[in-house]
């Protein structure tokens, strides 16, 4: 039996992954395991940009995958970037094993708004399903309600659901 590994990366204890676990299992029909991996987060830090390179984190996440891991999702609170873009909410290997999501820009405080824990959790679930969907080979979906719809700013995320549309589900063999 293989599992989706949920890997908190230097995540504060207050972040509860229970709801995320349930949702990922329901969406993809695969059981999850929550485990800590040894990740050198400071090594991925770019002092000029004051951000963390998501590709380097991803590389560490998938370096030694457990034998029963079909997918690995890293969850971090640091601000992520890829070289050409100012930031990313997450990164995934298309049709691969690994993905990473960041809570940093999913929190209302980042935008100067009052903290909203429920909204942040909701956004995290959507982004986790989105990035994991890519690891299952799904491309961005044009259906605005689908979790695989591309989101380039946080309001985009709020407009979509945490579920896959029927086309995306069929594409990866889910009923």
């Amino acid at each position: 039996m293989s599992y989706i590994y949920l890997v908190p990366i230097h995540l504060h204890r207050s972040v509860n992954l229970e709801e995320l676990t349930r949702c990922v299992e329901n969406t993809f029909g695969v059981r999850t395991k929550t485990r800590s991996f040894k990740i050198d987060l400071p090594g991925t830090y770019d002092p000029i940009r004051k951000q963390y390179n998501s590709s380097l984190i991803l590389r560490q996440l998938i370096a030694y995958p457990p034998v029963d891991a079909c997918k690995i999702l890293g969850i971090t609170a640091v601000d992520l970037f890829i070289p050409i873009l100012t930031y990313v909410f997450g990164e995934a290997q298309l049709d691969g094993i690994g993905a990473v999501v960041s809570l940093h820009r999913l929190q209302n405080q980042f935008y100067g708004l009052p903290e909203n824990h429920t909204l942040m959790k909701d956004r995290l679930i959507k982004e986790a399903v989105h990035e994991l969907g890519h690891t299952f080979g799904l491309l961005h979906c044009t259906n605005p309600g689908c979790a695989l719809n591309a989101s380039t700013y946080v309001e985009n995320i709020d407009q979509k659901s945490h579920e896959l549309c029927i086309d995306c589900r069929e594409a990866i063999g889910l009923r």
Partner: protein, 447 residues
């Protein structure tokens, strides 16, 4: 068009930028590849087709600006987007002036990047679609009815090709039915005015007053019955071509008016006082001997020289008989399609008959003969019996055939016309049935 039909090439000497962009675009389903320098990019542009190229302005060796110039030489419609650091914005602006679609300053906001690529994809799709539509338009607008392999028609087509791209005034000379309007259409279709209309007016078909109104249009109330303002043919031909057919048949006043319009490209509508400016090319046609008309004073000399800048003479069909078979087959195929008949051939005897006819009505007459034959043909081949000529065919046009050959051909023709009925054929020929049987036997003809 699916995203996978759109090819994006990323050219950057930084592997991390190449890799990040490649992954980013792949998630949208685009076909993506990368090149580490300009020479590799040029190689890839030769090996495959790419719609959008993102290129770094600063690269070792050939820089992005030079690479863009080379790309535009390969295909000016390829969308180029410049990747730049803040320090080289000036160069990026130069790149924009040289045809770049846009530029991005590293690092770029994901939303801006997303919009930029969406717009670039949209632009490329429009360009491709536009190109495709133009090609389709070209295919339908270029007349394919000019058929022939004879030196005479080849020479005509060479002259059409010579003059089409220029804006010169053309006069087409030729007998009635030789296809003067088709030649005018060919000139228009191969000219830079082809996306605008070609307006035809048969000058011989109108009285002088009516022709004036047709050409120049009229204002409301210009004459009894002019209830609305109406644009004339000259206005309709703006940016296109006006084809003045039977130009030799216009009266003195119209000759003068036309001369003024040709010189100034301006006129007033009937009953109006406002000058209307138009931009058109004139192609005219006549079967009249205009030089003679100039000599006897019935056609203005100055107008003659204005219209006859470049002249194309269409040979009559009797002077390009080697084309008859091709033209006849062309019309056979055309009417097979339109009449939904499966006629695929013309018998050698029929072709022989077509070749021997003098064709006073030229191609128009040949077309009508084939059309009539197509109506009556029963099988898959046009036979002599299917032909009917408006004028009695001249079976000995060369005049050097002996009496026996003429007799044989004539009997053959009458037999075909009467559907092989000997009694009927004998009655037409004014001989007895027995005599006709003897002749059939003598000339080994089929009944």
């Amino acid at each position: 068009m699916k995203p996978s039909d759109m090819g994006i090439l990323i050219v950057d000497d930084e592997a991390s930028v190449r890799d990040a962009l490649r992954k980013w675009f792949m998630l949208d389903g685009y076909r993506v590849d990368t090149a580490e320098d300009a020479s590799r990019a040029l190689q890839m542009l030769q090996d495959d087709s790419w719609d959008i190229v993102l290129l770094d302005i600063k690269m070792p060796g050939m820089d992005g600006l030079e690479l863009q110039r080379r790309i535009k030489q390969i295909d000016k419609d390829i969308i180029t987007i410049i990747i730049t650091a803040f320090a080289s914005v000036d160069t990026s602006i130069q790149a924009m002036k040289e045809g770049a679609f846009d530029y991005i300053i590293k690092p770029v906001d994901p939303d801006d990047m997303s919009h930029l690529i969406r717009n670039a994809v949209q632009q490329r799709r429009l360009l491709t679609e536009n190109l495709k539509l133009r090609q389709q338009l070209e295919e339908v607008s270029v007349p394919d009815e000019i058929v022939g392999e004879s030196p005479a028609i080849k020479q005509v087509m060479a002259r059409v090709a010579t003059v089409a791209q220029t804006d010169s005034t053309v006069m087409i000379r030729g007998e009635s039915g030789t296809g003067k309007e088709l030649i005018a259409l060919a000139i228009h279709s191969h000219s830079n005015r082809r996306y605008f209309p070609m307006i035809t007016i048969n000058c011989g078909a109108y009285t002088e007053g009516l022709l004036e109104s047709e050409l120049f249009g009229h204002e409301k109330g210009a004459f009894t019955g002019a209830m609305y303002r109406r644009r004339g043919k000259l206005e309709m031909a703006d940016k296109g071509t006006i084809f003045l057919d039977e130009i030799g048949n216009i009266g003195k006043k119209m000759q003068m008016d036309l001369l003024r319009v040709i010189e100034s490209r301006q006129f007033t509508r009937l009953g109006g006082d406002k000058e209307v400016s138009v931009d058109f090319r004139i192609v005219s046609a006549t079967n009249r001997d205009l030089e003679m008309a100039v000599k006897d004073g019935s056609f203005r000399e100055d107008l003659y020289y204005r219209l006859n800048v470049f002249s194309i003479n269409l040979p009559p069909l009797r002077e390009r008989k080697s084309d008859i078979s091709l033209i006849a087959r062309f019309f056979m195929k055309k009417y097979s399609r339109s009449m939904n008949k499966n006629v695929t051939d013309i018998s050698p005897e029929t072709l022989d008959m077509l070749m021997k006819y003098n064709w006073p009505g030229n191609i128009r007459e040949l077309r009508n003969v084939i059309e009539r034959a197509m109506v009556s043909v029963q099988g898959s081949r046009i036979e002599t019996g299917d032909l009917s000529f408006p004028f009695q065919p001249s079976l000995a046009p060369s005049g050097d055939e002996d009496l026996e050959t003429v007799e044989k051909n004539h009997i053959k023709h009458i037999l075909a016309r009467s559907g092989g009925k000997v009694a009927q054929a004998a009655a037409i020929l004014g001989i007895s049935r027995l005599t006709l049987y003897n002749k059939i036997e003598k000339y080994k003809l089929k009944k």
